[in-house]
Assembly symmetry: C2
Homo-oligomer: 619 residues x 2
């Protein structure tokens, strides 16, 4: 089996190749329990909700097995597909017969709903049949198809089952006939099918799917779906230099374009992707890796428009940010993409799910007064199965391979056996990352001995040290991969030490929301102040820059490092009844206190209360 | 003629009575030229746009004079009505035969469109006739009716012409039949008809209109229009304590409730209005008097949710804030309402129209990078005629009367003859307000000699002095009316001196958007920094608290006081390529510079560039 997520194995223009996720066995206390929760809680509860909300009945209805109206939103099929994808990857990581039975049954229901001509979408059946492919901008038909393809590929890679793959090939052939080079000009309002088609191409080798994906990207900017920046349809993709509009759509489009680039090497795609990536990380991304500043249109805002209380930062957008940067990393082997991937994974995305595994955020504010709480489900339920599939395939992103060597992208205690051309390598990571910045990698070559290891030195560290069997290396630069090439022998140990001491971040001065405010970073984790850990209203604290301490609290929130430091408390109740006042006229005598901060991903798992990421600072 | 705006003359529970606007003759350089521009530019250009956009044709179509489809939005009739109201008040102030002809013609077109049964709405004609009164929540039928009534009352009061008044009475009778005490339970999704019905009652004395207005307020909170906080339909009005939902709807509802209170004295209405007013001014109002933080739903946000770049602050909401506070002032005679009225008038509302009188803001941000510019018109064109009618009736809000005395609410050079019970008083204000805080009031009693003058001491002044014929009074408190009672003689002069020196304001600490930021206030005016007056990017300046200077610039923006002071310039380009960085790691050496600020209402009348109200400050 080769359960890879994004299969760049034969992609001519990808620098890195994926490692099957089932070759990695987590042994850590961060991700391993989350995957257990995924299998035992998240996937079964989501299954029940797919059933209760009529999403599965929609397939039975399309197959003629039940009657009644279509239920829910036009893109509800995609939730079922993402759930299949999540469950398939989770099963690849760890077998669970209960989950397997659920997935097999759902796959059967899906397959039964397909039309003779290959079309499959449970909304566009019976009375809605005549509306097929009529409103590509708004009705998500290709989007749903893309999620089907990704689910089918995952199921095929993970369980070797062809049922949904055959369904997908028939549907993809249908789409190719309708919208391929000989068909109608059309693109979907919600990108997704592009990356899915490339994966389908990689899975079965049919070049027309890649051709169609490329075409769907090239067709943007011709006004086929209205020509708006909201849909990134105002300019040809290759001429874009700004990410605009709906955050998830924009990032999914970039995923698709990156996948097409890995197969075609189209240099103009690569240049556009570079411009768009810079626009995102230099101007439009939350410090958590979240994306999307606006409730209206779930949109990316202007440059530096990054409100905190009213951040939208949809969980799906953070997931998409991980997906895109994972692809950019595969394409280029550049550490900066791993940095953003890690940031969005541990913070923006992971906040989308409760520690219990059965409650979700759709919207992820960076400041709150206690009103924003995770929900068990949503009418528009894109986020729950999206964060589920991301967690399910996290093990697959820890490593990657180049032509001759092995890349360590993420750190977590695990054992892995990685196949190279001329043999395999057994690796063992010992670490309590992300809580400490020390990683020991035991290397045991099997059938080969000389190969390079590429060790990611995170961009967030100020100083890093790499030792091979106790001997330090030179030229260890944060934000790069250090190449260690040698004749390896069993028992070799590489020791990585990343200076991780918590520190305060500030934002570009044009992020007006963060003036005189700082965020706390500790390693890859962004922190927040939440009320249950603090005596005084956390919105009224101002951090005194200086010593920050870290305390490991195994009992708290599943085990977290708490960051502590000095703050001044300014009692805002002195302002009672006033909204504006002459500067300095409301006198508040500050009080010295200690503040405690917890990882952002873990907030809102206790009683409601104020929370804040960008905390005031004294000057 | 008694061209009053809000006729509380016989309202049993109103503390103040209005003064006809045609009894006031402006002689100032602030409002007088604006009313000239209104008559010569704004009203004629809006007339042309009402014609070009099909709004007038909609009436001709309803009357059977032209064919073709209804054009534009469902509430387009209301734009015509607001224009009539604006033009009528402007004509009351100054006769203009050209404008009068336009209004007469439009009034005739409106009257011709009325149905036999009194119903009048050009959208609900022909093919849409069956949809009348079917969707009160969304389709603005009573809202349009209300604007018709206000236009009709204005025309009747100002020109003595009954045509639209008769139309309105027929329509109001129709509404009373359908929705009165014996009719269907129903309320409109967009309040407006409530205040209009009270004015209609005041104009013609038919008590059923007041009864209906009261009923429409009492009926809220029963879920008749969905029961949402967005429509203030989740609780009975008398139990509300928070302003929520659509800003203009909420404030118009408060206007209507205040009008009903003035007629009925219902104490629970008064208490609710007090709670809602406090919620607004203590938690939800921009420093400009603007209201509404959210693009989504044009809504008032949570407490302290007052973003700057993404302020919505619809021009109509600032106009509504003036309207509501004018009514609260009439109801109570309390100076705090005059303070908010003045603030919203000179700042939030006035920014909605260009100095040239023919371009408008719908949305009024408090910070911008140069992209937000006034437009000649909007598809949803509620704001242009709303700011027009407000400017047209500004002279009417300068004075008011109590049973025995005269209230001076606003200051502007003018001559006025004010009728009291036992005679009249000739008043002359000499001042260059709002540019300086000195006002001389010459008093000449005509036919009576003993009466009190109530002089508003603005809440924005730190210190005020009042002299009568050179003799200073004691107990002159900002934010109150000073009562001066004496036997007046021709030649008496009251001299008011308000300390007006510009000062810096800060915001409640929970307005996170304004941390370490200050706004500049000079008298009633809120200032902003705009790029054309400053060398360095105004977003990169930090005001150094200290001496602020004022310079009168007759050549600039129609004549304004510029506020100047010291600032430090922090070159944000040092951050190039970075969005987040460890605190202190981006070193920027500040440079001492002078900043210049202009009144907020006057921004965006020159070349585009950055603007900011809440400027950073050094500490």
């Amino acid at each position: 089996m080769r359960t890879v997520v994004v299969d760049s194995s034969r992609s001519a223009y990808a620098k890195l190749k994926p490692v099957p996720l089932d070759d990695v066995r987590l042994q850590d206390s961060f991700w391993a329990p989350r995957i257990q929760t995924l299998l035992k809680v998240t996937i079964p509860t989501q299954y029940r909700l797919l059933e209760e909300t009529g999403r599965l009945d929609n397939f039975r209805r399309a197959a003629g097995k039940v009657s009644g109206p279509f239920r829910g939103l036009v893109f509800n099929d995609s939730d079922v597909y993402k759930w299949i994808e999540a469950a398939s990857y989770a099963l690849a990581y760890e077998y669970d017969s209960h989950v397997e039975r659920m997935v097999d049954q759902v796959a059967e229901e899906v397959a039964a709903a397909q039309d003779e001509d290959g079309y499959l979408n449970t909304y566009f059946t019976f009375e809605k049949r005549n509306e097929r492919w009529k409103n590509l901008r708004d009705l998500h038909e290709m989007y749903c198809a893309g999620h089907l393809f990704q689910a089918a590929v995952a199921r095929h890679r993970a369980q070797g089952k062809r049922d949904l793959l055959d369904v997908s090939l028939r549907f993809a052939d249908h789409i190719y006939k309708v919208f391929g080079p000989e068909g109608r000009e059309g693109v979907d309002g919600h990108p997704e099918v592009e990356m899915a088609l490339v994966e389908l191409y990689r899975e079965v080798g049919r070049r027309e799917y890649l051709e169609l994906a490329h075409l769907l990207i090239e067709r943007r900017g011709r006004g086929l779906i209205g020509g708006s920046p909201y849909h990134l349809d105002h300019l040809p993709f290759k001429r874009l230099s700004e990410l605009t509009g709906h955050a998830v759509r924009a990032l999914y489009l970039c995923c698709g374009a990156t996948d097409v680039y890995m197969e075609t090497g189209d240099p103009e795609l690569r240049e556009a992707l570079e411009r768009l990536w810079r626009d995102l990380v230099e101007r439009k991304m939350y410090v958590t890796g979240g994306v999307g500043s606006r409730y209206e249109g779930e949109a990316i805002g202007e440059a530096y428009e990054l409100p905190n209380e009213r951040a939208y930062a949809e969980t799906c957008a953070a997931v998409a940010n991980v997906m895109w940067n994972w692809r950019m990393l595969l394409a280029t082997g550049e550490a900066r993409f791993a940095d953003v991937m890690e940031l969005a994974l541990y913070n923006g995305a992971l906040a989308g799910i409760s520690l219990s595994g059965d409650r979700y955020f759709y919207v992820n504010p960076l400041a709150d007064r206690g009103g924003h709480r995770r929900q068990t489900w949503f009418e528009c339920a894109c986020c729950p199965p999206n964060i589920a599939r991301l967690i399910a395939y996290t093990p697959a992103m820890i490593y990657a391979k180049s032509v001759d060597g092995i890349y360590l992208n993420l750190y977590a205690a695990n054992k892995a056996r990685i196949e190279l051309e001329d043999g395999s390598v057994y690796l063992e990571q010992r670490t309590v990352y992300p809580w400490e910045g020390v990683v020991e990698v035991k290397v045991k070559p099997e059938g080969l001995d000389e190969f390079p290891l590429f060790l990611r030195i995170p961009g967030w560290t100020r100083k890093a040290r790499v030792e091979v069997n106790g001997r330090g290396l030179e030229h260890v630069n944060p934000g790069s991969y250090v190449k260690v090439e040698r004749r390896w022998r069993e028992g070799d140990v590489v020791r990585l030490v990343f200076e991780m001491g918590p520190l305060l971040l500030e934002a570009h001065p044009h992020v007006t929301y963060n003036t005189c405010r700082v965020a706390i970073r500790h390693g890859p984790l962004i922190y927040c102040l939440e009320q249950p850990d603090n005596v005084y209203d956390v919105w009224d604290l101002a951090i005194v820059p200086g010593q920050l301490d870290v305390e490991w609290r195994p009992d708290l929130l599943g085990g977290v490092n708490v960051v502590k430091g000095a703050a001044l408390y300014f009692d805002s109740s002195k302002w009672a009844g006033r909204l504006y006042a002459p500067a300095g006229s409301v006198e508040v005598t500050p009080r010295e206190v200690e503040f405690k901060a917890i990882p952002y991903y873990s907030w809102a798992n206790r009683e409601p209360g104020p929370m804040i990421v960008w905390v005031k600072r004294t000057q």
